[in-house]
Point group: D2
Chain length 470, copies 4
Amino acid sequence: MGLETLRHHCGVIAVWGAENSAELAFHGLYSLQHRGQEASGIVSTDGTRFFRRHGFGVLSRVFDSPEKLTVLKGHAAIGHNRYSTTGASENSFNIQPLYATLVSGPVAVGHNGNLVNTKKLRRELQENGAIFQSSTDSEIIIHLMARSKEKSFRKKLIDAVQQISGAFSLVMLSDHAIYAARDPHGIRPLCIGINGDSTVIASESCALDLLGYEYVRDVEPGELIVANDKGWESVRFAEKQTTHHCIFELIYFSRPDSRVFGEFVDKSRRKMGKNLALEHPADADIVISVPDSSNTAALGFSRRSELKFELGLIRNHYVGRTFIEPTKAMREMGVKLKFNPVGGVLKDRRVVIVEDSIVRGTTLKKLTKLLRNIGVKEVHIRVSSPPIRFPCYYGMDFPTKEELIAHERTVEEIRDKIEVDSLGYLSVENLLDSVRQGDGIGYCTACFTGDYPIPFESNEFNEVKDRFDD
Amino acid sequence: MGLETLRHHCGVIAVWGAENSAELAFHGLYSLQHRGQEASGIVSTDGTRFFRRHGFGVLSRVFDSPEKLTVLKGHAAIGHNRYSTTGASENSFNIQPLYATLVSGPVAVGHNGNLVNTKKLRRELQENGAIFQSSTDSEIIIHLMARSKEKSFRKKLIDAVQQISGAFSLVMLSDHAIYAARDPHGIRPLCIGINGDSTVIASESCALDLLGYEYVRDVEPGELIVANDKGWESVRFAEKQTTHHCIFELIYFSRPDSRVFGEFVDKSRRKMGKNLALEHPADADIVISVPDSSNTAALGFSRRSELKFELGLIRNHYVGRTFIEPTKAMREMGVKLKFNPVGGVLKDRRVVIVEDSIVRGTTLKKLTKLLRNIGVKEVHIRVSSPPIRFPCYYGMDFPTKEELIAHERTVEEIRDKIEVDSLGYLSVENLLDSVRQGDGIGYCTACFTGDYPIPFESNEFNEVKDRFDD
Amino acid sequence: MGLETLRHHCGVIAVWGAENSAELAFHGLYSLQHRGQEASGIVSTDGTRFFRRHGFGVLSRVFDSPEKLTVLKGHAAIGHNRYSTTGASENSFNIQPLYATLVSGPVAVGHNGNLVNTKKLRRELQENGAIFQSSTDSEIIIHLMARSKEKSFRKKLIDAVQQISGAFSLVMLSDHAIYAARDPHGIRPLCIGINGDSTVIASESCALDLLGYEYVRDVEPGELIVANDKGWESVRFAEKQTTHHCIFELIYFSRPDSRVFGEFVDKSRRKMGKNLALEHPADADIVISVPDSSNTAALGFSRRSELKFELGLIRNHYVGRTFIEPTKAMREMGVKLKFNPVGGVLKDRRVVIVEDSIVRGTTLKKLTKLLRNIGVKEVHIRVSSPPIRFPCYYGMDFPTKEELIAHERTVEEIRDKIEVDSLGYLSVENLLDSVRQGDGIGYCTACFTGDYPIPFESNEFNEVKDRFDD
Amino acid sequence: MGLETLRHHCGVIAVWGAENSAELAFHGLYSLQHRGQEASGIVSTDGTRFFRRHGFGVLSRVFDSPEKLTVLKGHAAIGHNRYSTTGASENSFNIQPLYATLVSGPVAVGHNGNLVNTKKLRRELQENGAIFQSSTDSEIIIHLMARSKEKSFRKKLIDAVQQISGAFSLVMLSDHAIYAARDPHGIRPLCIGINGDSTVIASESCALDLLGYEYVRDVEPGELIVANDKGWESVRFAEKQTTHHCIFELIYFSRPDSRVFGEFVDKSRRKMGKNLALEHPADADIVISVPDSSNTAALGFSRRSELKFELGLIRNHYVGRTFIEPTKAMREMGVKLKFNPVGGVLKDRRVVIVEDSIVRGTTLKKLTKLLRNIGVKEVHIRVSSPPIRFPCYYGMDFPTKEELIAHERTVEEIRDKIEVDSLGYLSVENLLDSVRQGDGIGYCTACFTGDYPIPFESNEFNEVKDRFDD
C-alpha cells in the first residue's frame, strides 16, 4: 500500500481546558495528518463565540499564516483531517468540523468512520423538513440531535448516536464541554489523554505523545466521554459486545508509534512480518520495505528469515500531494515520483519486497519493471495481509470490487499479472495471530473474507450524491 | 448621505435561459454594487449540479480571477450583493445566496429586505429540530419550505412566504426554474426583464439595461414569479393592498437611471430638488452637490432657484472601501479621503450644498470646516428629505436612535451643531409631492414620522446574535 | 475620452520626514490613482534598511491587507502608480519604484514620462557592461548614476538627468534624502508641498490636499529638489527655457481639483467648454457630459450656450478594471458596462454631448446608437480639444496613427463615421486661449499639430522589447 | 543532523530539448527539494521570450496552481531551490534563477555553492558603475559576463568564471543553449544526463533517475558544458588539479540514492557506519537511526556490530517547515514535533543512536531526556563523522564557531554536556577510508580540520549585507 495511494480515514481531535486549545488541536492534527490530507478544519470556542477556519488540502496549506490560528480563540477546540468520500467533490460544506446552532446553542462535530444507515436517515429527516448542506454523516448526527425530544445536550447526543449504525469515532464541541463517542463495535480508534485538568481526545495516541498528554485508555466501544472543567466522565450508550476493530488500522492506517486497540501498532506489524516469513519464506539475498508503511513488517520478515534488511527504495517525502495533474511526462515518471531504487544496493540481487497490502497492483507491476531495468535478478513480493477481495462499508475508500487485483483471481494469477518471481500473502489466521487477542476482542476482516459484522442497506454506500460545487 | 457611509440594502438578481447565466448574474450584480459591497455570491445550475462561489468584499475582490466565474456553469443562476446586518460579523455562512438540499432537491436563495417576525419563527423552528448555520432571514425561508406539507416546490415556497412578515424581495433557484417573490407591501423594488426566451429578475432596472433585457414591469407586491423554459408565469400569494414602498429608495438608495416603483428615480430626485428650492430658498452664489448621490437633486435646486450649479467637490472613486483601518493619519484626512473641494470654484463664494439626507451629521460638520478653511464665505445646507428621527425595521441599517443627529433636536439645533449658516430640510408633504402617486400607491416614511406600516415584535430587530466567526 | 480607456501616465509621490511616510505615500497614490491603475509600488526606508511592496493592479489590490503597509517602515518613502508601456507585459521588474544598490548605497526611483533617447543610451550602457532587468526608463537613469564619475549622490543624479532627453518627472529615495527632478521642458507636472518639517513631492496638488500639505509651488523645469531633515533645497541642472507643458494634462489627464502648470485644472476646462460653445454652437435642447472627465467642460458649454446641463449618463464607478476578458456577452454590453443612459432625461431630446477628446471613436459610435435606441432625437458631439492626429513620444499611450479616427479624415468624415448629427472640435487657437499664458510658458500640442518640441530618434518609441514574463 | 535543521546548499537543474522543459525542471527540483526549501524558481524560454515564476517556500507552495507551470513555455529551462545565506532576508531579488538582459540578449543563472572573493569583486564592479539588486553571487557572475570584452556568450561566460573563486556549480540559460560550469576544485556536485537529443544537468543524479534521463558522468571540475540542439559539448576553462569534494555531501547533504563524486552515496554511508562500529563499539541491545538521514549508516553499524537494527523513532514527514513561530506550547513539544519515540521498541533497552553529525547538540540532549523518560536504560551516541569545529566558507551554513558544540570541547566534555552514556565520533581517517579514492581525487574536510583548500579574504563570508526587504 505504500506504493498506492489509498484514501485514508479521517483523524479527529478534541481539546478541553488549555489556554491555547486551537494550537494544540493544530499540532494534534499534524500528528494525524496521515489519516487525511484533503481538507482540514478547526473550531474553537471561548464559551461565548465559536471560531472556525478550514480549507482544502493539508494543514500547512489550510493554516498558511499564523493569523489563521490566532483567531481561533478559547479554551476548547475540535479538529478534523478529512479524506473525501467522493474524491471529486469540492463542496466546502463537507469540510469538517461542521457547525450549526441548535435550540440549545451552537455545536460543532467531527467524525471518523462511515455510517451504514444514512440513506434511510437522510430520507426520513428530509421528509420531516430537514435541510442538508453537506453530504457528510456529521450533518445527519446534528439533525438527529436537533430533533431529539430530550432536554439536555448530552441526552440529545445519546439519542442521536443510538439511531446511527456503522463506524463512528466522533468528537463534538458545545459551549460548555467537549464530547467523544465511539460506535459499539469499536471499529475506528479513539483514545483519551490527560494533562493536569486538561483533557484531549484523539484518533491515535501519537497525538497525545506530541502534545505531552498522558495516554489514559481508549474510549470504549459504546461509550460517550464528556470533558469539561470538572474533568472527564464516562457514559455508556450501548451495551458491551465483542468488538470488531478494523484490522486495517493495524496493517496500514495507524502510525506505528501509536497505541491502537490497546497495543502498540509496530508490535503487531513486526509480528505480521515474522509470521509472513514463516508462512512464505523466500530464497533471496535481501529484504527491502516499501518505505515507510511496511518498514516494521519488513524488519520482522528480515529478522525471522535471516535475510539481510536493506534500504532499497528512497522515498521523496516532498512530493506528497501536489496540485499537479498527471501529464504525459508525469505518467512516464510513474512510481519514481514517490520512490527511487538504490542501484548500488539492488543490482544483481534477488530481492524480497515486503508490502503491507495490495489494492490494484498496478504500481507494484511498474516498480517490478523498474527494478528489473536497473539489474535486480529476482523480485519476490511478500504481503503482510491477505488478498483484498471485498469492499469496506465502514470507512476505507477501496476502489470498486472490479478494480481490486485480488478480485476473482488466485494468488498465482495475481503473481502472473504483476510479473514477479514469487508472491506470498499472509493468511487471515496468521494475521489474527499477529494482533492483540483477549476476552471480548474481535476484529473486522470483511475486506478479506466478506463477513460483515454490521448489516447495511444494500447499495447504501456512497449513495448520497453531492450536487454542490462550492 | 453622499458624505456618510450608510450600509445599503442588498441587491439580488436571477437569470434563466442564458448560455452564460453566471456571467450575466455577475454583470447584473456589478450594476447593483451600490446596494451592497460587503460580500457577494453567485449560485448557478446546469439542472444537475449546483455551483457556488462567494466571498467577502466587492465583486472584483470576490471574483478576482476568470476561473471563479467559468466554474459557475449552467443556464440558470442567482446572485446577491450583501451588506451585513451586524457589521462585525465574519460568519461566511451568512454570505448569500444560501443553498441547501430539500427532499425535493437543491435550492438556493438570495434575499433583500428585513423580516420582522424572525425571532418567533427561529424559536419555533429550533424547537422543532431545525438547525441554523447563519443568522440570515434566507435560512428561515428555506426551513419553512423544508417543513411545508405541500408537495410541489412552488407551493412549498408560497407556504413559506405566507408565514414571513416584513420586507422581502427574494430570488430562488431550483434545478428546474428561477423564482422571485415580493412582500405584499412592496417595500423593496424588484423587476422583470426579458430577452427572447430568457428571463432576468433584478432589484433595479439598471441591471436589465446593462444586460440588454427589456424591462417588462415590477414584480407586484404579493406576487410570485416563476420562470423557466416556458417563459415566466405570475402567481399571487397575497391579496392586493395599498403599497408601502420605501421612499428612501427614491431619495438615496436606488440608482438615478433605474426605474423604481414604476418611475425613473432621477425624475423624483429632480422634483425633490425643485421642491426644496421652493420650500427653502437660499441667498447664495452657487449650488453644489455631494457627488454622486445628490447630483440630480442639486441640479433641480439650481434650476428652480436660478443659482448656478457648480462642481465644487471632486470625488475619489478609487478610495471606496479599502481594508485600511482608520489610523491617526487617516482620521486627520477625514472627509478628504472621499472628496476634495475645488478651490478655484469655491473660494469667496456663498455656497448651497444640496445633500440627500443627513444621518449622524459628523462628516457634514467636518466638510463645512474644510470649506471655510479654503475660503468659502457662507455654507447653506439644503437636504432633499426630512430629518431622520426613527429606526428602520425593514432593511435600512441606520445607527441607533441616539446617534441620529435629528433625534430630539430641532432644525435650528442641528444647524447650530454642524455650524452652518443655514439649514433646510424638505418636508414630508413636499417629499411625497415629488414621487409618483396613484391608486393603491403608498410609501413608508416611518424613518421620518415613526408611523410603521407593518407591526413588528418589540426588540425583534437585530436580536439574532451570530455566535460564529468563520 | 471618458468613453475610451486611454492608458494614462504614471503618478509619483515622495515623502520625507513623516512618522508614517509609507502610509502617506499610499494615500497620496490613492489620490493619483487616475494616473495609472496597472501596477503600484512603494519603497520606504528608515535610513538603514529599505522596504518594498509592489504588484499588478490598483492600489487596493496591491495593498490588500494592512500588513503590506505596516512592513513599510521609516521616515521616508516614494511611491508610483504605473501604466504599462506595452500593455501586455507582465515583467514584474517593470513595476516601479525600482531599486538597486550603487557603490554609495541603495537607491529607489519612480518615473513619470517618456524618454526619447533611451535606445541609444541602453545600447551604450549594454556595450559597457550594464545589465538590464526591466524595460523601464528608470533603470537607465540608475545605470547612468552608477557610472557617473561624480562623487556625491546629488552630482551623480545631475550627471544622469543631463544625459537623458524627453519627458521626466522623477522621484528618488536614498538613505539620506528624497529627490525630485523635472525635465527642462516641464512636460509632466510635479509639485512641492510642506507640512512643518516634512516635505512631499507629488505629480498633482490633489495629493497634497489630501495629505494636508500646503502647496508651495511646482518643481520648475530643469530643477532638482533635495529634501531631508534640513528642509528642501533647489538645484538647477538645466537653464531656463520656454516650457512645453503637455496640454493633454489640462484636457484630460489631471484631476480637475489639482493645480497643474500653475493653475487649477477645472478653470482651464471650464474655459475650453465656453470657447467650444462659441466656436461650435449647437441647436439642441440639453447638454450632457461623459462623466466624470468632461463634466467641467460640459458645464462651461452649458453656461455659455445657455442650453440646460443635464445628467444624461450614469457612470458605474464599480466596474473599473476587472480581470474579466471581453466575452461575447460583454462585447454586446459594450459601452453600457461603463455608462447607462437615463431614459427620462434623454428621450425625445436633441442632445449635445461634450466629450474632452476622441481617440478611436468606436465607443462614441456605439453610444450614439444606444442613445438613438432609447429615443434621443439628435446627437451633437462637441469636443473640447482638437482632433488627435499624431503620436505622442513623451508619455501618452495613444494607439498607432492608423487607429486614430482623425488620422487622414476631415471632421465631416469623422462625423459621418460615428453617425452623429453634428460634430465640432475646439481649435488649437481656442484651446491655447483656454489655458494659462505668460512669459516663458508654452505648451506641447504635438498630438494635434505634429510639431514636436523635443527631437527624438526615429523609430525610437517602444523599441525596447521586453522579453521577460515574470 | 537529522535531529537538527541545517540549512542546506542549493539544488540546480537545467533542461534542454524537451517539449515540457519547465515541467521537467519542476519535477527535477522536487527530487532536489532536500537541498533547499526556502525559495524556488524556474526560468524557461522558447528562444524568443523568457518566462519566470518564483517565490518563497517549498515548491508545492511556490507552484500552487497548474497555471504557474503552464505559463513557463519553451524547450529549455533552468531551475533553482535555494537556501538563504542570511536566513532573515526577504529580498525577493535573491530568489534564483536571476535573469537580466546583456547586450547579447537575455540570460538566466542559478548557482549552488559559495564564492570567496565576492567582496572584492562587488567593490570593483560597483566602482565601475555596476548596480546590484540582490546579494547573490549569481548577480556578480552576470555582471562579469556583461563587462567581458569577449564577443561570444560562451567566451564571456568563461571570462567570468575564471575571475571567481570558491565553490560553484552553476547553470545558465540563454536564448540558444543551456550552460553548466563547475569550479576547478569540484566542491559541489553536478552531473549530466541524456535522453535522446535532450540534455539535463542536475545537482544530483536522483533528478536524472526521476526524469528518465541516463546518467552520463559528472560535470568535471573546471569544465563548462554547453547543450543545445546539437547535443552537448565540453569546454575546459581551468586545468585539472586534485579535487576538493565537500565530504559533507556524502555524510549528510546528498540523497542516498544519488551518485555523487562518482559513487552511490549510500555505499559510502554504509561504510561510515561499519567503520564507526569498528572504531567505537557499544555494549548495547539495539541500534536505531535518526530517520531518514542516518538510516544507512545505522544499518552499517548494526551489520558490523551485530546489534539489532530497530525502528525506534517515527518521523512526522508532514511537519516539515510550517509558518508557525515557536510558541510556548511548541517549545515544550520540542523534538517531538519531528520524531516520536516508539515505546514498545525502546523501553528498558540499552540503545545505540547513530547520527550522521552533530552541530549544536541541543536537540540531541532533549531527545536523550525524552528517551530516558519513556524508559530507555542507556543512550549511546555514535556519530558517523568527526566533530565539527570550523566554519565552512564554501556553502554550508553552519552556525558561528561558538555555537558548535565541538568548539573547544573534548569528546568527553561533549558527552557530558548532552548527558549520554557514551559518545563516539568517526575519525577523519576512517571517514576518508569510507569514501571513493583514486588518482586526483581529494576531499575538503575543513569543517573538521580547519585546513581550507581555497584561500579566502578574511572576514569575507557573509559580508554583503542585504539592505532590501521586498
